[in-house]
């Protein structure tokens, strides 16, 4: 149910002008909720940022989620994270 909850919170934030990006492990639920911007990750429930103790992977996933902010819209924007999402730090 976490996925519905984050989608509904994201909607409230967006309606106040705060751009959101959401990680999802359950693409089909996020699609049903129509979460404004979401990055679907290939990991099990409970592992939204991939692996515990792996800051490099966690950072890459966060960067990929932030990259969705550049999508022109309209929402919902739902993209998949793959290991090819490599964006170096500025």
């Amino acid at each position: 149910m976490c996925h519905q909850t984050v989608g509904l919170i994201a909607g409230e934030l967006e309606s106040r002008g705060i751009a959101t990006t959401t990680v999802t492990m359950l693409r089909e639920i996020t699609a049903k909720v129509r979460t404004p911007r979401a990055l679907a990750v290939p990991y099990a429930l409970g592992y939204p940022l991939g692996k515990p103790g792996d800051p490099e992977l966690q950072t890459r996933i966060i960067r990929a989620a932030f990259a969705l902010l550049e999508a022109p819209g309209p929402g919902p924007v739902l993209a998949d994270f793959t290991s090819t999402w490599i964006r170096s730090a500025p």
Binding site: M1, C2, I9, E12, V23, L69
Partner: protein
């Protein structure tokens, strides 16, 4: 990717028949600033709380839709986790809170200039909200108003 077929039969049946609330229309705000200038807030549904805060009520019918404010300088390993859902494996999150509440990662990104600033408070909700009426009418708007007052430009939301 997780899918409904990975869940226990009980959770699978529930989630397959549950009528999800859908955003319609979908609110969609363009970022006001480029990310290196933006104030970023973290929102989780991992049910984390400070040791000094009243934990979420995991037994509340329909789910506990309240939230906790977590100062962004908090050492994540000190946070309690009220989430007791059997729908997901909590081993990883309990070993490394950054897995679902990545304050350390966002602090690093702020220090490198990838984001403009990390907002002074992060927000923690509990998942497992099956009756989201109060969330939609009360607590989500209240949380959003706080972040709006903080001048937050971008929010990263992480479910567990």
């Amino acid at each position: 990717m997780a899918s409904l077929s990975d869940l226990s039969l009980k959770n699978r049946v529930f989630m397959a028949t549950y009528r999800y609330r859908a955003l319609d229309p979908v609110p969609f705000a363009r970022p006001r600033k480029p990310l290196p200038s933006a104030r970023v807030a973290l929102v989780t549904t991992g049910g984390v709380h400070l040791p000094s805060q009243v934990p979420f009520d995991d037994a509340m019918k329909g789910g506990d839709s309240s939230f906790r404010e977590i100062p962004s300088e908090t050492a994540v390993e000190t946070l309690g986790i009220a989430h007791k859902s059997d729908a997901f494996d909590q081993t990883g999150f309990r070993a490394d809170r950054n897995l679902g509440f990545p304050l350390d990662r966002l602090r690093e990104m702020a220090a490198r200039g990838e984001i403009g600033a990390l907002n002074g408070r992060a927000l923690s909700f509990m998942g497992s909200i099956t009756a989201p009426g109060r969330l939609v009418k009360d607590t989500a708007p209240g949380a959003a108003a706080l972040l709006e007052a903080d001048g937050v430009d971008v929010a990263l939301l992480v479910p567990l």
